[in-house]
Amino acid sequence: MKPNLTVEIGSILLKNPVMTASGTFGYGQEFADYLDLNCLGGIITKGLSLKPRAGNPTPRIVETCGGMLNAIGLQNVGIDEFIEKKVPYYRTIDTRVIANFFGTTVEEYAELAGRLDAIPEVAGMEVNISCPNVKQGGIVFGTDPAAAAAVVTAVRERTTKPVIVKLSPNVTDIVAMALACQEAGADALSVINTITAMAIDLKTRRPVLANITGGLSGPAIKPIALRMVWQVSRAVKIPVIGIGGIMTATDALEFLLAGATAVQVGTASFLDPGTAGRIVQEMEEYLVSEGISDVRELIGALKV
């Protein structure tokens, strides 16, 4: 018998727990040649802002041991072009599209939430709070529970769609961040975004990235992400989406055991554009071979 793979993130029913992470899967269409998008649990878009954004100067990426740094600088087409050029495609595919977005003030977040709420093709929204709050002198929303809560509250007021907050790992106490977001009305949490890091070129004596620092992703960070998913999911009542270095179905299942209801595949899609599709298939094969009738049995099933 075919096992149940569906899971729920707030009111969004996903076909299966496997989504693609923001910024690593373009707007989805780019990957249509490499896998059947309809087999995915969901697609998270590249992070959107009110206005198009140029992003950072180059070099923007560099490889590290078991990972990569990126300082793309949130280059994106902006919400208007997104609606005009990218959204129509979503009518042709059968998977949940979740829009990732960010602002530099609470008001920008709120306005974007309102815009996204009006797009029927968008099933929910993922709020990236790893951005500096320009109004408050650059303090990062994602490292201050009160600032994060303010963003979530404002977003919550503008939409009835599920609001997923994506947490930054660059904090002492990720559980405090998680609780603040839950309290402020988040329907789910994505854990984790990239870890701030740096690479240096000895020959030029310069940082490799034009932006000096960048975000570390890839299998190198998986153990850190697993730890944070475990900590957060034990502390909150809302679903947690596990992200960080997932390359295989085994990795994805480990995140479910740690407490994640769903996962997102990021950097691995660069190495193999079909990764997320393969993980869906292998996850199903695993359930069948283990005689597990419902993937939800695994969520948080870690024995400690």
Binding site: G23, T24, F31, T58, P59, N70
Partner: protein
């Protein structure tokens, strides 16, 4: 396309420069000169990212196995510069690779009547051979090849065998003229009729070539390199500044998807740091 490929041969042509032939699926024969591949050099995570390589050649051969008929192959020409290329150089016939490609936009041949001028610096020759093979059928083709030393000038005989006239310059004068290949290019450009330039090589060479093309009002296509993670327009890691780029009006283009070949007019050529150069 994503495919598993078998190494057919892997030979060191000159110290540190290798030529690898591998199997490819039949549709690969339709790839364009200037397009590239993303190769995963190991199944493991070190190195993690794929490595980009131009297509040096592609074609078909008849196998000795009766049932197989003809086999499509592809070739790359590569220089060992780091971990990934060192691992490539350690591969043997029969080893397997995972390849994405053909990717990106290749060269546009343009009007067959005009003369075609290829400018290659060092390993930048790699994509030009495949291009030359296409162009020699209809046009006069000249190659200007530059490099640090004679060991860095590759496959000249192969080009000549195609009927390409070749000019060589090396920094140390150990082969051809001493100096920059762009100096040699500029001398000969005067005699060229309705020429189009196709260039691939290090950024300073491309910049000089573009400058010459601009001065002589000659069309010029350049093939760029950039750090790449995905090779398919998803990561936005590989961008270069387009001609309309200003700080308040960004015009970034993906080398992997909108390139790697660009018309030199479409790019912003800046002097010094921070720009495309």
């Amino acid at each position: 396309m994503q495919f598993k490929s078998l190494v057919i041969s892997n030979v060191e042509l000159s110290p540190g420069y290798w030529r690898m032939r591998m199997t490819a699926p039949p549709p690969f024969a339709g790839s364009r000169p200037g397009q590239f591949l993303m190769i995963k050099v190991t199944e493991g995570a070190d190195p993690l990212l794929r490595r980009p390589f131009g297509i040096f050649d592609t074609g078909t051969f008849v196998t000795q196995f009766t049932d197989c008929g003809s086999q499509t192959f592809l070739e790359i020409l590569y220089k060992v510069v780091g971990k990934g290329t060192a691992m490539l150089a350690a591969l043997h016939d029969g080893d397997r690779l995972d390849i994405l490609g053909p990717l990106g936009r290749g060269f546009t041949p343009g009007d067959p009547a005009g003369e075609k001028i290829l400018v290659g610096g060092g390993i930048g020759l790699a994509p030009l051979y495949f291009l030359a093979r296409e162009l020699v059928g209809t046009s006069r083709v000249r190659l200007f090849a530059g490099g640090r030393s004679r060991e860095d000038i590759l496959c000249i005989t192969e080009f000549e065998r195609l009927g390409v006239e070749t000019y060589v310059a090396t920094d140390d004068g150990s082969l051809g003229d001493r100096g920059f290949v762009t100096q040699v290019l500029e001398k000969h450009l005067l005699s060229a009729k309705d020429a189009t330039i196709f260039a691939c090589g290090p950024m300073p060479m491309l910049q000089a070539t573009a400058e010459i093309a601009r001065r002589h009002n000659v069309p010029c296509q350049v093939s760029l390199e950039a750090f790449m993670a995905c090779g398919m327009g998803a990561c936005l890691g590989c961008v270069v500044k387009g001609k309309e780029h200003r700080d308040d009006h960004p015009d970034y283009r993906c080398v992997c998807k909108e390139g790697p070949v660009f018309d030199h007019c479409d790019l912003l050529w800046e002097k010094g740091e921070g720009g495309n150069s």
